[in-house]
Symmetry: C2
Subunit: 505 residues, 2 copies
C-alpha cells in the first residue's frame, strides 16, 4: 500500500490548525481525554436513562459513572454511524465532509485529506493519540486515522462496521463455497493496525470469534496505551469506539446469557464491564482526577429493521426511551442518545444537564480545554460547551440542530420544536414505518411538519396548523447553513441509491 | 341526608381489623404518614423519570424529593382512577370491591360498608386521619371516607372527578340555558366537607374558578391539619389526592403559562410547588424525620383520547415514558407510573428500586410499620414491602400482578413477562388504537399474547410463538386468584356499557 499524494496533503492539514498557544506537553492543566463511543445503544438502554436493570441488563458501572459525573439529556447526534463519527471527528455536519450516509466499502465518499480531525487537534497540542476500534471513515491512505493525527490505530476494517465479521460466513451460506474458507478469510475483512504515517497492516481475519472477543482486545490495548503515556509523562487522547450495541451482538464468554434479554442485553452488560475497566485503570494509573472521560453512543438504537439479527425471541433491539424511531431515521429516537462526562476537578458529580449538546460540540470544547483552536478556514458547526461542563450554563450555547440524510436536509430542531422538511424515512435502513397519527391523519398531508418534542416526546401530534411560527427560527438556521454552503461548497454527497444497494450499515 | 344502616355496618368493619398491638398515640416509633396522589401523571412526566425540565416543565422540588428518598421504577397500579384508588384504600384488587371501572355517578357500584380502608387501618392504630381532595369511591353515606376511618374530609364531589367543575358550563353550552346559572350551580357538583360519622355538607359550587385554585386550598387544609396534630402530639395519616395532571388542567394564577407545554405542564409545575410546600411544612413543624411521605400517581397519562381537552396546540397529554399506551388501557404505559417514598431515618437517600411494587402493597406495608394487621377475613392482594423500603430486598415480595377492566381479567404480569388474555383495549376510554406491530402482523391473531417488558418496553413484539412457557407462571397466578374468588366471591362488577354511556372518567 502506497502513501498517496492525498495523504501528504493531510499532513499539511495539520498546519491549518490555528494553535493559540505553544505546546508544553507537561503542562499539568491539560487533562487526558478518553472518549468511549458505544454503537447503536439507545437513549433508553442504560441504567441512568431508565434502562439497565429496568431493561433486564443491569449496568452498575455506568450507574456509578453517572453518579461521578454529568449526564446529558439532550445529547444530539446524526442518524447513523459514519455521519455521527465524521461529525465527532471534525466538529462539522457530516455533509460538509461528504459523509452523510453510512460508508459504502469501495464507494467514493471517504474522509478527505483536507479534513481536520480531533486526532489532529490533540496532536497539535502535544498529546499522544490513539484509536482502538471502529473508524468507519474510509480505508484509503488519506482517510485513515493515522493520516489524521492518531499515533496508533488498531481495529476493524476502517471502511466497515462490526457485522463485517460475518461476511465470510454469509458468502459460504449464500454462494455454496466459491473458495476454501481459509482463502475467503484471508481475503475478507481483516483486523488492522497502523502507526502515524505508516502503512495499514493486516493482523488477522475478522471472524465471528474475533468479533465476540474484540472489546476485550480493544480495552487491553487502551489500558496499555494509557500506561505507556503515563510512564512517559505525556498527556493522551484515547478514542475507543467499541462494539457495545451493534449487530451482531456476540458477547464474549463470561457475558453470554448474563442478561435477561438475550445477546443485546448481554452486550450491554459486557460494555458496562469494559467501561468499569477503563475507570479502574484511570484510578490505578493515578490519572483519575486529571482525565476527562466521555462515554456516549453514536446514534439511536437498531430497532425493528434489525430484528433479523439475533432471533425472534431475543432480537438485537435497543430502546429509544420515550422517543420515536431508530437508527437511520431522522426522528428524535435516532438523533438523541446518552452521554456521560466525568472530569472530577471540574464537573460536579451526579449532575444532569438539559442543554442541547451536539456530538460536534466536543471538537471546539476540547480545543478550548487544551488551549488550541479549530481550523479557521472552514465552517465549524460545533460550539464550545465548556460552560455546560463547568456547571456555569444551564442552556449552553446551542439552540438548534440540522439533520441530514444523504444529500437532503430532512429536519431541524430549534429549541423544543422539531421541523421536518421532507419525507421522514428516506434512508431505506429505517423500517418504512407509518408516520405518527398526527401526521398521518392531519388534513394537510405534506410538509413541513412540526412537533413539540417536550410536550409530545413521541412525535404523535403535528402542530404545523396551529404553530407555523414555531418553524420560523428553524428556517433562519437553515438559511444560515445555506449561506455558509454558498461560501464553502460541500463535496458531492453520498449517493443514497448506491448506499441502499451496498452492504454497509 | 340520613346515616343509613349500611353506614353503621361500616363502623362495625373497624372491629374486623386484627390489631396486633394496643394503641399508644405517643409511641415515638410510629411515623406520621403523608400520601400525596397525583392524577393521570405519566411515568415519563417528572424530572426523576426523564421528564420535568426535559418535558418543558421543570420539577425541582420533586427532583429534590427523589434525591432525599427512594424512587420506585416498577410502581404498578390499576388502569384508571377509581380502580387504583380502591386498590390503594383496601389493599385489594378493585374488582374484589366491585370498583374495577371508573365510578359512574348514581351507579350501583360504590365502596361498600363492609370494605376496610387505609383510613380504618390508621384509625385503629390511634392516628388522626384526614383526606383532602378526590375520593371517587362513592357519595352514599356508607361509601364516604368519613364512614371509613377518616376524621376529616374536604374535597370535590365524592362520586366525581376534577372535570365535574365544567359540568354546568357544558349544560349551558349544549342545552341553551335550561335554568339560570346560579340555580344550575347550586344543584350541580359541589365542594363538600364532613367529619367522621357526620353528614356531608355542601361548601360551595365546584366551578372552573374553584377548580383552578383547588390544590392551593387542599394543601392549606393539609398543612393546617398537620399543624393541629403536631400541637396535639398525635400521629397523623394525611391522604392528599390532588388534581395535578387531570383534565381540565386549569393552573392557578401564578402558574399559568409557566411551562413551555401549556396547561398540562403548568399544572405539573404547580404540583411540584405543592409537593414542595408539604416538604417545607414537614420541616417547619419539626416532623421532617418522623414522617413517611409517599408521592405517586394513580395511573398512566391521559393521552390521545383526551386531546379534546386543552386545545390542539397544548392538549392535556402526559407521557408514558418508554412504555405503550395510556389511562384506560391495560398496557404497561397505563399500569406503571411514578412513586417516591421519603422516610429519612429508614430509607437511604437518592436510591432507586426495581422491585415490582403495587399500589395495593401500601396497605399491608403501612400495617406492618404502624404495628397493626390487615383484616383477616378476606383476601388481601397487597404484600408487605417494608424490606424494599429498608433497602434490605432488591426484588421485594411481589413477582406478579393481574390487570382487570370491568368484569374482565385482561392481562397478567409475571416478572418481565406481560400476558394478555383478551382484547387489550376494551374500556372505550382508551384511543381504540391498533395493537402493536407484533400483535397486528403476527400470523396467529388472537390470544394469549406475550411481551417481554424488559426487552421490548414498548410492547411491539408478541413472542407467544417462541415463549409460550413464559405465560405458565402467569396462568398459575390467575388460577390462585380464581381459587380465592371461589372462596370469597366478588360483588357484581361494574357494567361496562353503563360506564361507556356515563360521564365519569
Amino acid at each position: 500500500m502506497q502513501i498517496s499524494r492525498r495523504c501528504l496533503l493531510s499532513v499539511t492539514a495539520l498546519s491549518l490548525l490555528a494553535t493559540s498557544s505553544p505546546v508544553f506537553a507537561q503542562q499539568p492543566q491539560k487533562p487526558n481525554v478518553v472518549f468511549i463511543l458505544a454503537d447503536n445503544v439507545g437513549y433508553g438502554d442504560l441504567g441512568p436513562y431508565g434502562g439497565g436493570e429496568l431493561r433486564g441488563a443491569p449496568t452498575p458501572r455506568i450507574d456509578q459513572l453517572a453518579r461521578e459525573g454529568l449526564r446529558l439529556t439532550q445529547f444530539l447526534v446524526e442518524p447513523a454511524c459514519t455521519p455521527s463519527r465524521a461529525a465527532l471527528m471534525t466538529g462539522r455536519y457530516s455533509i460538509r465532509e461528504g459523509l452523510s450516509l453510512i460508508l459504502v466499502p469501495d464507494g467514493p465518499n471517504t474522509l478527505s485529506a483536507r479534513s481536520v480531525t480531533m486526532g489532529e487537534l490533540f496532536k497539535s497540542a502535544g498529546y499522544a493519540t490513539a484509536i482502538f476500534g471502529k473508524w468507519h471513515l474510509g480505508k484509503d491512505p488519506q482517510s485513515l486515522p493515522t493520516a489524521h493525527g492518531f499515533d496508533e490505530y488498531y481495529g476493524i476494517p476502517p471502511d466497515m462496521t462490526w457485522d463485517s465479521a460475518t461476511y465470510v460466513d454469509k458468502i459460504e451460506l449464500t454462494h455454496s463455497l466459491p473458495a476454501p474458507r481459509d482463502i475467503l478469510l484471508a481475503r475478507g475483512p481483516q483486523i488492522v493496525e497502523a502507526t502515524a504515517g505508516g502503512e495499514l497492516r493486516n493482523v488477522k481475519p475478522f471472524t465471528p470469534e474475533v468479533r465476540a472477543n474484540i472489546d476485550n482486545e480493544l480495552v487491553q490495548k487502551s489500558i496499555d496505551f494509557m500506561r505507556r503515556q503515563k510512564a512517559a509523562g505525556k498527556p493522551f487522547f484515547l478514542y475507543l469506539p467499541f462494539s457495545m450495541g451493534h449487530i451482531p451482538n456476540l458477547p464474549s464468554g463470561e457475558f453470554k446469557g448474563k442478561s435477561r434479554i438475550g445477546n443485546y442485553g448481554d452486550k450491554l452488560m459486557e460494555g458496562d464491564h469494559h467501561v468499569g475497566e477503563i475507570l479502574d485503570a484511570l484510578k490505578e494509573l493515578g490519572v483519575d482526577n486529571s482525565t476527562l472521560l466521555v462515554f456516549a453512543s453514536d446514534n439511536g438504537p437498531s430497532g425493528e429493521a434489525f430484528r433479523e439479527y439475533g432471533n425472534e425471541e431475543t432480537p438485537d433491539m435497543g430502546s429509544p426511551g420515550p422517543f420515536r424511531g431508530e437508527l437511520g431515521e431522522a426522528t428524535e429516537g435516532s438523533i438523541r442518545t446518552f452521554c456521560f462526562i466525568r472530569w472530577p476537578d471540574t464537573i460536579k458529580p451526579n449532575t444532569t444537564s438539559y442543554a442541547m449538546f451536539s456530538i460536534m460540540d466536543f471538537f471546539p470544547t476540547f480545543a478550548s480545554i487544551i488551549g488550541t483552536k479549530p481550523p479557521g478556514d472552514r465552517p465549524i458547526d460545533g460550539v464550545d460547551q465548556i460552560d455546560v461542563l463547568r456547571g456555569q450554563s444551564a442552556t449552553g450555547k446551542r439552540d438548534s440542530l440540522l439533520s441530514f440524510i444523504g444529500g437532503d436536509l430532512v429536519a431541524a430542531r430549534w429549541k423544543q420544536w422539531r421541523v421536518y422538511f421532507t419525507d421522514i424515512y428516506p434512508t431505506g435502513i429505517g423500517p418504512q414505518r407509518q408516520p405518527g397519527p398526527g401526521s398521518a391523519s392531519a388534513p394537510m398531508a405534506g410538509y413541513p411538519k412540526i412537533f413539540n418534542i417536550e410536550m409530545d416526546p413521541h412525535e404523535d401530534l403535528n402542530v404545523f396548523g396551529s404553530f407555523p411560527f414555531a418553524g420560523e427560527p428553524a428556517v433562519k438556521v437553515v438559511e444560515e447553513y445555506f449561506a455558509s454552503v454558498k461560501k464553502y461548497p460541500n463535496p458531492p454527497p453520498p449517493n443514497i441509491t448506491q448506499f441502499q444497494s451496498g452492504s454497509g450499515r
